[in-house]
Symmetry: C2
Subunit: 207 residues, 2 copies
Amino acid sequence: MTMDTNTTEEQILEAAKKVFRAKGMQGARMQEIADEAGINKALLHYYFRNKEKLFMAVFADAFLQIMPNMDQIFSSDRSIEEKISVFIEAYINMLSAYPDLPIFILSEARRDPTILFEVLEKSGIKPVSITEFILLEMEKGNLVRMNPSHMMVNIVSLCVFPFLARPLLETVILKKQGVDPAEFYNIRLEEVKTFVLRAVIPNYSES
Amino acid sequence: MTMDTNTTEEQILEAAKKVFRAKGMQGARMQEIADEAGINKALLHYYFRNKEKLFMAVFADAFLQIMPNMDQIFSSDRSIEEKISVFIEAYINMLSAYPDLPIFILSEARRDPTILFEVLEKSGIKPVSITEFILLEMEKGNLVRMNPSHMMVNIVSLCVFPFLARPLLETVILKKQGVDPAEFYNIRLEEVKTFVLRAVIPNYSES
DNA sequence: GTCTATACGGCGATAGAC
DNA sequence: GTCTATCGCCGTATAGAC
């Protein structure tokens, strides 16, 4: 995406992203961020006044990146089956590129839930109601009848959870069953797709 | 479960559970645990030598509680459909009773992945291969053919994720769509059951 | 076993020269 | 804008009386 330009402020921000995402707010050290940026600790306070401010910049960036923009995909003119398939593919691919984002977001949101409100205010979010669209497709018989919120949460769950639980999966579950983690993640995209479509598309097996 | 007996050590452990689970290793303060236990800070170090030791006791306890013991449920003589249904119900009910366990476990495992190995060694875990059982049911035509690991991970994902993402769900998604969080969690159990069964039981819709 | 008092180190933040 | 040096707090851990 945005190559780190050479301005000091952006160097700091890139370094902060790296360290905060890896260690979290409480685990990160201002010294480590300064080292990573190749500058001095005092400069951090010159550009961003304190640790909290610097952290919020990083968190806001991460938050916007992980919020699924369903509307864009769902406003295309494909069939509902294709839309769901495309969404899952896009979301899992994004998560594969930034696998540490989900646990970072949720850990910090749990530590201090107020940061969610803060981010939501600063960046106008679009409360596009995908719900109505889903209900419409159910009316038409293109989707199984179920609660739309749960349908959405279910799809996101299946995409995100393996990234959240990665340490657990790798050291416990998969290892225990003799499964190669790399292979597991390789085939996951297709497995999720068919699992979801079987659950939400009427008579999907026969199609 | 175990009522807090009056021995000081257990009072400390109960207090530590409460504080560590709520704040995490880095957010917890020894002083707060001491206050919660109604004793002095120095006593914490008398019983458990340092913060790390006390934390590990709490983490191990939480870990054992959250590890799904599928084997017990899956070794019953019910049909596969009933087994899955019972498992989902048992697991979601357990999580509802201890909703902060999942994010606690995963946050700490991410902060220091080695604690997983530590816990696994201290408490002999049973690597019961549920995989073979699943494959057998697929052979018999009672389950849709898919990768067994992913089937298991999918089911767990749907159960656990809403608890992990609760702050996000409540402040962003649900609020955005005008959904009452309490109502959402109330109906979730049934929604997950039918969603999973539709995905894994052949011709479930017609049954 | 339980307490009070204190030592010790780490880290965020600031002062101030250049 | 960038640096060095240092302050001051906070939190873990220990010393030692009872």
